[in-house]
């Protein structure tokens, strides 16, 4: 009978050992929401499945000098996390509108990122937050900026035997607004037609942009940063017209495709519109943060 061996390591050390032992024959899963479906459809046929659900070191949220999120933290626990709710609305926007409560109770942020789908909801916010991806492997630990993590659709820099352990995110500067806009056909149980994450930090005048980050989902074969648009914004006094121009720039540097979920022209158009709108939300939120 076609089946696999399901391994439930209780520690990161054990998980790494198992991964090292079984190598290419093993499939690492966190929430495992795709496992059953992909296995049934014969998209994957691993001999060993290594579940990270029971590794406590991989499931946590801490906020001290920086924000750290364990890779096996579920979207639901992020959605309910006071730290995320209070300080990282951009992540709350993403995790509270992904799938359903049921899916969010299983699916993890690490799984979302490691699948490296262009539509991964947490990728644009993590790009905008300059998140660092921390990995552990046979050679020890290493870290890369998330912008360097994706190599193509379903491809990442993870080497054989490596596991993403956590994401770290620096504390945003005080005058910062951040938001993620998920553009969909319906309000739940959907993948984005386009995902736009924007982070804007402002100088003491509250207007001049000191830092801009734009993360886009479904705008290219991998989640991407709109670096030209970011550069355009930095140093400028931000208003609607400037954001509109940034949207155009972002649309020009993106390369969306036509799929059954949306046409290329429409996605380009939405980048233009939604970069501006998400930027406007950032301005509101920055103001709110300054007052709060």
């Amino acid at each position: 009978m076609r089946t696999f061996e399901y391994l439930k390591p209780a520690s990161l050390k054990e998980a790494l050992e198992l991964l090292g032992r079984h190598g290419e024959k093993a499939k690492l899963v966190a929430g495992g929401t795709d496992l059953m479906v992909q296995w049934k459809k014969k998209i994957i046929s691993p001999e060993y499945v290594i579940s990270l659900r029971n590794v406590p070191e991989l499931s946590f949220v801490t906020y001290e000098s920086d924000l750290k999120i364990g890779s096996a933290t579920t979207h639901r626990s992020l959605e309910l996390s006071p730290v995320i709710r209070e300080h990282f609305p951009i992540l709350l926007d993403a995790v509270s509108n992904l799938g359903s409560v049921q899916v969010r109770n299983s699916a993890t942020i690490g799984g979302n990122i490691c699948n490296a789908a262009p539509s991964a909801d947490t990728a644009p916010p993590l790009l905008a937050l300059d998140a660092v991806v921390h990995m552990a492997g046979p050679q020890g630990e290493r870290a890369v900026p998330i912008a360097e993590f994706f190599k193509g659709p379903s491809r990442t820099v993870l080497a054989s035997g490596e596991i993403v352990t956590h994401f770290s995110i620096a504390r945003p500067s005080p005058n910062t607004g951040m938001a993620y806009w998920k553009h969909t056909r319906r309000k739940a149980m959907d993948l984005p037609i386009l995902g736009v994450a924007v982070l804007l930090s402002f100088g003491p005048d509250g207007k001049t942009c000191t830092k801009a980050r734009i993360g886009l989902g479904v705008a290219a074969p991998t989640p991407m940063r709109a670096r030209k648009a970011e550069a355009f914004l930095e140093g400028k006094a931000i208003d609607r017209a400037v954001l509109d121009e940034a949207g155009k720039t972002a649309a020009a540097e993106a390369s969306p495709r036509t799929t059954i979920r949306g046409s290329q022209w429409y996605r380009e158009e939405m980048i233009r519109v939604l970069v501006r709108r998400t930027g406007m939300i950032c301005m509101e939120r920055a103001k709110g943060a300054a007052q709060g």
Partner: protein, 166 residues
């Protein structure tokens, strides 16, 4: 490859032999004859298979059975009291017509249970957010939302009663 796992279902300890590729739904329906949770899609999209694992709603059609080891599983069958009385949520679904064909109902009620356990007095938006992973083709959700809010009222009047297996 079969492995024996132990967990509790609706308060009762069970011991089942499972294949590693089996989802929890298969164990509940085929091995334990608890057919209340339904297979509506098998892909974690419709919510008809929703059960609570340690109080949290999950899609049991894609939840690996082996992950249930040592956990507390609550299914729709666990809501009726030992003396065969309906749980207030079940009662509310009849009183406010949150049921039509009934196929989505067990999953819908389990999602409602998880919500009301956490938030005893939800707003309409909160109910809709919590039930968004349970598709219903019959009701258009209006009377389901009314049922859940009615259930909240019944529960607040009757705080003593709870389902078994908690």
């Amino acid at each position: 490859m079969r492995r024996t796992i132990r967990f509790t279902v609706n308060g009762d300890p069970v011991e089942v032999e499972v294949q590693p590729h089996w989802p929890l739904l298969r164990v509940l329906r085929d091995e334990l004859e608890l057919t209340g949770a339904k297979m509506g899609c098998g892909e974690g999209e419709c919510g008809a298979c929703t059960v609570l694992v340690d109080g949290k709603p999950i899609n049991s059609c894609i939840y690996p059975a082996l992950e249930a080891e040592g956990k507390q599983v609550l299914t729709i069958e666990g809501l009726v009291s030992p003396d065969n009385e309906l749980h207030p949520i079940q009662q509310a679904f009849l009183e406010k017509a949150g049921v039509q064909c009934g196929f989505c109902t067990p999953g819908m009620i389990m999602s409602a249970k998880a919500l009301l356990d956490m938030n005893p007095n939800p707003t309409e938006d909160e109910v809709r957010h919590a039930l968004a992973g349970n598709f219903c083709r019959c009701t258009g959700y209006v009377q389901i939302v009314e049922s859940v809010r009615h259930a909240a009222e019944l529960l607040s009047k009757n705080t003593k009663r709870t389902g078994t297996g908690e």
